[in-house]
């Protein structure tokens, strides 16, 4: 028996297989932007074969729900939903942003993730990390990069280290350096990436609980309602709502 973790929200296609205690047996990641739909299934096949399994051995799934690339997120979520209903197994959705931050669980300070959401905005979240414990200080949201960095500057304590990660982290660090003049600012990873071993660690407890608590027949039903976390409306939908409200707000994309 094995567990599967998948994230396709970023340009990194991230897969991991764990044993029933959540220990990583294999973890694969490939940066092949826009090719997730092509490679997710063959790579799962390959990875599972490497550790002597096939999809029938999977008893639980943890999937990255985004935010991130719209088209990308749907690929992983679709694999998870269909696998869950086909086998009647448990599935747990995890925030892709939180999973990215989890890579810094052994650091000490503020950990902030910024993934490009275009038009000077980013998918953002910030945690205070101390002795392996995560405390959310800024909740997961699509924000203007400037206002996020402002909020972060407000939260940071004197001398506290600030770890930034994400594909717009480098630019943000440079542009808002003056707001953090009393803090070490470290750009930890300047790509938007999730590694599935982190997804596995982060989602394991919830998955384990679910696997034990639910009747087998309930698992499929749970999977049906799984929906990616887009964190924003489709552009046409936003415009339509705006028109109906007659408001002049230009929140879209």
């Amino acid at each position: 028996m094995a567990l599967l973790a998948i994230d396709t929200a970023t340009s990194t296609l991230a897969l991991a297989v764990g044993d029933d205690d959540g220990h990583v047996l294999a973890a694969w990641s490939s940066r092949i932007p826009k090719m997730h739909a092509t490679y997710v299934n063959p790579l799962i096949d390959e990875m599972l074969a490497t550790v002597g399994f096939d999809l029938r051995d999977i008893k639980g799934i943890i999937v990255g729900m985004g935010p991130g690339s719209y088209t990308g997120i749907r690929i992983g979520v679709t694999v998870a939903k269909v696998l869950a209903i086909a086998r009647g197994i448990a599935v747990v959705g995890q925030s892709s942003l939180a999973s990215a931050a989890y890579a810094l669980r052994l650091q000490y300070g503020l950990v902030a993730v910024l993934w490009d959401a275009r038009r000077h905005s980013a998918y953002t979240v910030a945690y205070r990390v101390q002795y392996g414990a995560f405390v959310e200080v800024l909740s997961e949201e699509k924000r203007d990069i400037a206002s996020f960095m402002g909020l972060l500057a407000h939260e940071v304590q004197t001398g506290e280290a600030v770890y930034l990660l994400g594909d717009v982290a480098g630019v943000a660090a440079q542009e808002y350096a003056s707001a953090f003049s009393c803090n070490p600012v470290i750009v930890y990873d300047a790509t938007a990436s999730v590694y599935a071993e982190n997804l596995l660690s982060l989602g394991y407890l919830e998955l384990h609980k679910k696997m034990r608590s639910l009747e087998v027949s309930d698992h499929g039903k749970e999977a049906h309602v799984l929906v990616p976390r887009y964190l924003q409306l489709a552009e046409a939908e936003a415009r339509w709502l705006e028109k109906r409200r007659g408001s002049s707000s230009n929140e879209s994309d």
């Binding site: 739909a37 092509t38 096939d54 999809l55 029938r56 088209t71 269909v82 887009y230 489709a234 552009e235």
Partner: protein, 355 residues
């Protein structure tokens, strides 16, 4: 065990047993999320379609991102329902089929990824189906028609004349050079303030109108060409409406709808006639969303009677997008052992001849 080995074992077993072949098919190329179970390419065991029509109506057309979001919400539900209604488990299915092209790329990805995952978990062969091939095999489900035949596909995205050989090879004789016929219906419906989707609304209104009220021009593309063009016709209708408006005349919507519909059908029939005469084919299949149009079905029947040719049209409910037709088309490939591998992906465009 690797998918490839399991899949081949399953296939050999099925061929050896000589039992019926059940294909689970998926369609997600546009605004319908659909799944179906088909026996031997001919019998619909179950067919489930989750339509997003009401969701897109407020935008006056299909919005790709809205469609993709709806597909991911519905995909596992329709697959589950298709299996439950067919009273079969995934272990009692012999192959997985899916529309892989053409269509909205993000929408296709959802169906293709779902199909690959099913094939992978059940160790079954995977068949990628061209969406238009699905439309023309819909006629096989209703009518049992077998190739060779001439197929006229008329939908919101396509207007094509295809030659389907005995072996199921498809050659294209003609296509639209601009708008698809169904697209023209949608645009004229919008100009007449009828709403969306345009096809059924124009048809209903045209029933009360005079098809000879205006003679709209039909595109001349050279005598030999079997291609279509609807942009000139569309412009002529818009111009007519504009003139009436400026002259402050009341717009006779029903008559305009009837005249427009008549012009479209006339062109379709003229080209189909030429193609039948040129090829000597003895069967005409009319399929695609617009094939649900009663006037088109009637005219096609008259044409076939006149030429002593057999007409095969899908039942009306099989004209719009569904997964049953994908399963029917896939069966031909199943017998020919033409399978896709797990790198199968959605493509926005692809040639029917290469399929």
């Amino acid at each position: 065990m690797r998918w490839n080995e399991r899949m081949q074992q399953h296939y050999e077993e099925d061929i050896r047993s000589g039992g019926p072949t059940y294909i689970l098919a998926i369609e997600s190329s546009c605004d319908e999320t659909a799944a179906a179970v088909i026996r031997d390419g001919r019998v619909i065991v179950s067919s489930v379609v989750a339509s997003q029509m009401t969701s897109h109506a407020r935008f006056g057309g299909v919005v790709p991102e809205v469609a993709s979001r709806a597909h991911v919400e519905q995909i596992s539900v329709v697959i589950d329902e298709a299996l439950v209604k067919a009273n079969r488990s995934l272990e009692e299915i012999q192959a997985i089929a899916v529309t892989s092209c053409p269509g909205l790329i993000g929408a296709l990805f959802v169906g293709v990824t779902a199909a690959k995952t099913l094939a992978q978990v059940a160790g079954l062969p995977l068949i990628g189906v061209h969406h238009l091939a699905g439309h023309l095999y819909a006629a096989a489900l209703s009518d049992g028609v077998e190739p060779p035949f001439l197929a006229l596909i008329v939908s919101g995205g396509h207007t094509e004349l295809l030659h389907v050989s005995v072996e199921g090879k498809i050659g294209r004789l003609g296509k639209t050079r601009d708008d698809a016929a169904g697209e023209a219906f949608d645009k004229i419906a919008r100009a007449l303030d009828l709403g969306y989707p345009g096809g059924p609304l124009i048809e209903r209104l045209a029933n009360q109108g005079d098809p000879h009220y205006v003679t709209f021009p039909q595109a001349k593309l050279g005598d030999d060409s079997l291609d279509f063009s609807f942009s000139g016709l569309k412009s002529a209708v818009l111009l007519h409406l504009d003139r009436a408006k400026r002259a402050e005349q009341t717009v006779r919507k029903a008559d305009i709808a009837a005249s427009f519909q008549h012009a479209v059908i006339s062109v379709l029939m003229a080209k189909a006639k030429t193609a039948l005469q040129q090829t000597g084919l003895q069967t005409l299949v009319v399929a695609g969303g617009v094939a649900a149009n009663a006037a088109l079905r009637e005219e096609a029947k008259q044409l076939c009677d006149e030429l002593h040719v057999r007409l095969a049209v899908p039942d009306v409910w099989l004209c719009t997008d569904n997964a049953a037709m994908i399963g029917a088309a896939a069966y031909v490939r199943y017998k020919q052992r033409k399978f896709a591998d797990l790198t199968l992906t959605g493509q926005a465009e692809c040639s029917i001849e290469q399929w």
